[in-house]
Symmetry: C2
Subunit: 468 residues, 2 copies
């Protein structure tokens, strides 16, 4: 999951409290209540098949094999394209052949050597991660004094001459992701406007074992782009203490990177509806990842539970009325490139998107959905979620534009939902070397897979469309 | 805290469950009960002075200043010696001048470049930490296949020809520290005996954000010393999965290091007893640290709460009957060098050690003491701990040789105790780059300081000696 301005409305238990839980007390769905209840047997069949049947542990095993084989899959790399081919093969082996890929141009930002060394008041090497699309430093790096900035008001209130020629270090203390990620995204542009030569940010995370967190950032037009990197909570806090004691903190920052463009692909897998095949229920996750870690959590898990939906339905011979389309978005991390491309090229059929779902905030224990839509829409979805009380996944959280990739659809009124899950530790691992299979468990992935598959099936099979 | 065989008996909530809590129901201490109860006012005075008086936050502030100034303080380095001088100055400023240092020879093992790169079945750079006193590799490193070993029985059962020329990777899953640290300590020696060219170990930790944990290890006589390093839980588990799928895993390991000897010092600070000054109650922690992180938790916190004991008692004019001696042990991490040296050079007065205390397992919220001694001894200590119910630090856990440095005294029957504290996350940070001030809080350090000071004072002031 990235944090583009487009997606700042997604729900994260660790970032936005309290979440607004939908109250379905006065929903009046008439005969639809009975119709939805009639799916109970099929829901149980799917749950049994995944939790204790032939699919038990498969999501975890396939995800592990996938990330072990390819590792990180940054936008624009050969590894990402190979991983897309692999997923297509894996899908075909399941007898699903209605697969297309759609090409688009994506950025290829390649991280080179990155070092940050404090040499005053003492020498200390620090672990850093450059931010996405950051420019590089001169070969010998930038050597400058650090000025510690608490927030943008503090920056504004600081005279330009105190910033000029220095390296700005933003030290926002994590409260919510939405509140603090602005320093990662906009920090370099704002620091440069005040004359800084580079911009550092305390990693956007509530917990750390000296683990820096990368992420995207945006330069502003008319402002000199300056090198931008994240440092660990520990180093940021140490520098802050030194600075507050009146010590002069001097560092050398070396960053190397290249930025090019390349071609990548969205992948679309259709399980055709038996009645209204032109109508779509989309389930999705992104296949690209940051270049650190393995992208197991962000977003291998979300991609694999979306992959499992048509696979399981086909195996169980549960063909819904509408088409289920699994999409593996590409190049999400640098700004929803795949989703934007899909939206543009499928504009003429956007009215056919009946419901759009995405899992990109972890595949911990599922709790329900984060959904948009009018009251009727939410009533229907809440009624569907009642079928998941046995696995404790019946909560509907309200959000006007849920999701990351799909937020560019849901924010325009297309009804949809992202997976609501027990992801309180999501930002411990997000965009770090720690985003690996060790974050995932077979049990949680099975629960997510069963839940995701059954929800998508019911919505795709209901006698009525989801209202916009 | 290190993990020498000498110290394997210390208590850690995360490593040894359930701990044995002492039951003081049938203690018969006679008039001593009343005597101990009479300390209540003085205990409260100390607690107030630290929790809400002039010492509030001071332990944290001084510890932060100390670790920010010196960073890591590995055995044999100039930084360690400068940090010892600093502590002596800091102590003199408090009007405590009864300070001596005692020299000893210590190892100086210096870590150089360390890289581990998997290149089959795919390329991946891995974060590693060489283990203490490991030999280096050839300049271009060792390139070999990895053989994954679950435990020493598995190693024994594997034919030598399957180990010869390969790199052994031990993958013990953390249960308790004591149970799993043997693979870090003895793994290289045992692997070498079977013909391995290097030894890797899954870090001895229950949790990771791609964080490797270093630590000491021992070669065996008559066995070729081979390079030894720890890798992260994440990488160990990935290699294990690849290996179990039948993939050939090949890596290149480069390690450089030097091993010399140097001179360091134990530091002894005495607050002389008014009645029996030759009798000692020792409070202690070690001043050296590993070369990664800042040694804030291991063992800056323990050292500072021990430093605070004579400082606070002097400020409050609470002079006990016996002498309180604060000791900053040196070179603990590579094998209790400071403690062994002290034991040897103070052999003739060892009968004068009335009680010996050490904090080297974290300074999280204090819970009580981990203590050895006969029943009478434990009854007395348990009675003292009753005075700390208001801060929830009244638990006495039984252990025959508590402590790390002090275990070489307590295991020989000298009565003593280590700080029992809420350290369930201790091994998340232990011997990593994450051992920083971010693990510590002012509140917990204040609680530890107050508790440590008051306990030491009472024991040093009682009318009776602690029985051996």
């Amino acid at each position: 999951m990235t944090a583009d301005s487009d997606s700042e409305n997604y729900i994260e238990p660790t970032s936005r409290a309290p979440v607004k839980v939908f109250d379905c007390k006065n929903c009046d769905l008439g005969s639809l209540v009975e119709e939805i209840a009639s799916y109970e047997d099929r829901v149980q069949k799917i749950i049994d098949y995944v939790l204790s049947g032939p699919f038990k542990g498969k999501t975890h095993d396939e995800l592990a094999k996938f990330v072990d084989t390819f590792g990180a899959r940054p936008s624009g790399t050969f590894d990402l394209e190979k991983s897309i081919d692999y997923m297509i093969d894996l899908t075909r082996k399941e007898g699903l052949n209605d697969i297309v890929t759609e090409e688009l141009e994506v950025p290829r930002w390649e991280r080179g050597i990155e070092t940050l060394t404090m040499f005053e008041p003492r020498k200390k090497k620090m672990d850093i991660l450059g931010l996405g699309e950051s420019v590089k430093t001169p070969l010998n790096g930038l050597t400058a004094e650090v000025v510690v900035i608490s927030n943008f008001t503090h920056l504004e209130d600081t005279p330009d001459e105190e910033i000029k020629g220095k390296i700005v270090l933003y030290v926002p203390i994590f409260t919510t992701y939405v509140e603090t990620v602005i320093y990662r995204k906009e920090g370099a542009a704002k620091a440069s406007a005040k004359g800084a030569v580079a911009s550092l940010v305390r990693s956007i995370a509530p917990f750390s074992i000296n683990s820096p967190h990368t992420g995207s950032q945006n330069y502003s037009d008319g402002v000199e782009p300056i090198p931008a990197a994240a440092i660990t909570l520990e180093d940021a806090d140490m520098i802050t203490r030194l600075y507050n004691r009146g010590e002069k903190v001097k560092v050398n920052l070396i960053m190397y990177s290249t930025l090019e463009t390349a071609v990548s692909r969205n992948t679309l897998i259709d399980l055709k509806g038996y009645k209204d095949p032109e109508k779509l229920v989309i389930v999705s996750g992104h296949i690209d990842s940051w270049d650190v870690g393995q992208g197991a959590m962000d977003d291998g898990g979300g991609m694999f539970i979306s992959w499992a939906v048509p696979v399981i339905l086909r195996r169980l011979k549960l063909t819904p009325r509408r088409t289920i389309r699994t999409i593996f978005w590409t190049a999400e991390e640098l700004g929803f490139y795949g989703a934007h491309s899909y939206k543009k090229s499928h504009k003429s059929e956007s009215h056919n998107i009946n419901y759009i779902m995405e899992s990109d905030e972890g595949t911990f224990a599922p709790l329900g959905l984060v959904a948009n839509g009018n009251r009727k829409t939410r009533c229907i979805v809440a009624e569907v979620l009642k079928l998941f009380q046995s696995i404790n996944a019946s909560t509907l959280v309200e959000d006007d534009s849920p999701g990351s990739d799909i937020s560019i659809f849901t924010s325009n009124g297309i009804p949809g939902a992202s997976l609501h899950n027990d992801n309180a530790k999501y930002f411990w691992f997000h965009h770090t070397e720690g985003d690996t299979m060790n974050v995932e468990t077979p049990e949680n992935l099975d629960l997510c897979t069963a839940f995701w598959t059954a929800v998508a099936y019911i919505i795709a099979d209901l006698s009525v469309d989801i209202p916009r």
